[in-house]
Amino acid sequence: MTIDDAAIDRLVSEAQDGDPWAFGLIFDQYHEAIYRFIASRVQRPSDAEDLTQHVFVKALEALPRYEPRGVPFGGWLFRLARNAVIDHVRTRHEHAALDAIVEWAHGDAGPDEIAVVRQELDAVRAALASLTSEQRESIELRFFAGLSAREAAAAMGKQEGTVRGLQFRAIGALRRQLGIDGDPAGAVELRIAGPAGATTDG
């Protein structure tokens, strides 16, 4: 489920007025994206769980001070998440290691299929590891968390154009790493909206 910016702003306003139901909806809207972003940067799922909870509690505490002018709420929330991850990595002397990330279950897939998927995922992991820190963060915010370029820029504290450039270069690097050739004739217009889903239609 994705909701538009105006609806988010209304929910934020209601939560600022002390409505837990509104804050619950905000949690439902963003928790998976936040978790994905955090999980991509910490080693253990338990840390991702704790940090996700920590981010929302911090958001709860900071919510009265949030003003919707200028910074979109998603960007503001992911900035909290980014700072939490940075603090976590700093205190634990931990470096985000995608190698250590646990793979979730693959449902009813058979062993061969699982092996293929796992190989593909490992390739992606390796390609991501080859990116610069900023490129990787821009990819995480854009594709794992589903933020718009504007929200990702707010979360990273950079200009939107800068983030777009980082993402462009990151995608190029990933394509090279993964051996995916471009086909300009097959270019399509892609609309990306909403967190945690990267809703596409084209």
Binding site: G18, P45, P72, I101, L178, G186, A193, A198
Partner: protein
């Protein structure tokens, strides 16, 4: 969550698909973990919102509750002091010459006079001084009503003092009263003269009229005292009034307090005697008990 429009080719779409697969497989939270996180966060949210709600209602009430005694502590003594101050100021103001309580004050002063003739006379002379001071102060402010009230009281006290002194048969006491009245007459004459110099303003005229009446009253009282002393006015040959027990009390009738004041030298409205003029009676001597 604004909508971005990007031109992506098949390679970009493949990258997106692979990244999405990676996120779903390795970064998506376990539903149980999600439930745990949500439960903790929402519990925290309810606690915080409830605490904020309680604080919003309780803190002002506590502040009011705390403020109330403080306010009382500050306001009540201040209010009491203000009331007392108001009463005091009002009473003092009302008891001033011309004020509504002035006659009551005069009555109280009269009621509290000592019973002994000498002591009574001494106190009455003090009262005369006080009334004179009030009249002069009121004249300086141009308050004709206050001047009239003070001098009316003055005349009443002067009558009472002279009558008392005459009734006592004590020549020295009579001379003392006469000297005081003569002194006052000189002072009043000077005030009247000063007011005449100020022009013909209504207040000045009223004040001057009152003073003139007091001067005349003093003259009458002095004459009466002289008559009571039996020596007659001018029997001492125009000497100045002397204090009680001074060496010039050999004339008939005893002391010469005012008894030697000639009517012709008595201050008149247009030319009141000045204490500094040598041809006027010396009004400075006062009784030693003053």
């Amino acid at each position: 969550m604004d909508e971005d429009v990007q031109v992506m080719d098949a390679g970009d779409l493949e990258i997106e698909r692979r990244l999405d697969s990676f996120a779903r497989a390795r970064l998506t939270p376990d539903p149980r973990a999600t439930a745990r996180i949500r439960a903790r966060v929402m519990r925290e949210a309810r606690l915080q919102f409830e605490a904020a709600r309680i604080a919003a209602h309780v803190v002002p009430a506590v502040s009011r509750a705390r403020r109330r005694p403080t306010t009382r502590r500050l306001v009540m003594p201040f209010l009491a002091a203000a009331i007392w101050l108001g009463i005091a100021v009002g009473s003092i103001s009302a008891a001033q010459a011309g004020g509504p309580l002035y006659p009551a004050r005069m009555w109280i002063e009269g009621a509290m006079l000592p019973s002994g003739v000498e002591a009574r006379t001494a106190v009455e002379l003090q009262h005369l001084d006080a009334r004179l001071a009030e009249a002069i102060a009121a004249a300086a402010q141009g308050d004709a009503g206050a001047v009239a009230a003070a001098l009316a009281a003055y005349r009443e006290i002067a009558d009472r003092a002279s009558a008392s002194a005459s009734a006592s048969g004590d020549g020295e006491l009579e001379a003392l009263v006469a000297a005081a009245l003569e002194h006052h007459r000189v002072v009043l004459g000077a005030v009247a003269d000063r007011l005449a110099d100020l022009g013909n303003a209504t207040a000045a005229d009223a004040v001057e009229t009152s003073i003139q009446r007091a001067i005349e009253q003093n003259g009458s009282v002095i004459e009466r005292l002289e008559a009571a002393q039996g020596g007659g006015r001018g029997s001492t040959g125009g000497g100045s009034a002397q204090p009680r027990g001074a060496g010039e009390s050999t004339s008939p009738g005893g002391a010469g307090y005012g008894a030697d004041v000639d009517p012709d030298t008595r201050p008149q409205r247009t030319s009141p005697p000045s204490p500094v003029k040598p041809d006027k009676p010396d009004a400075t001597p006062r009784g030693p008990d003053r």
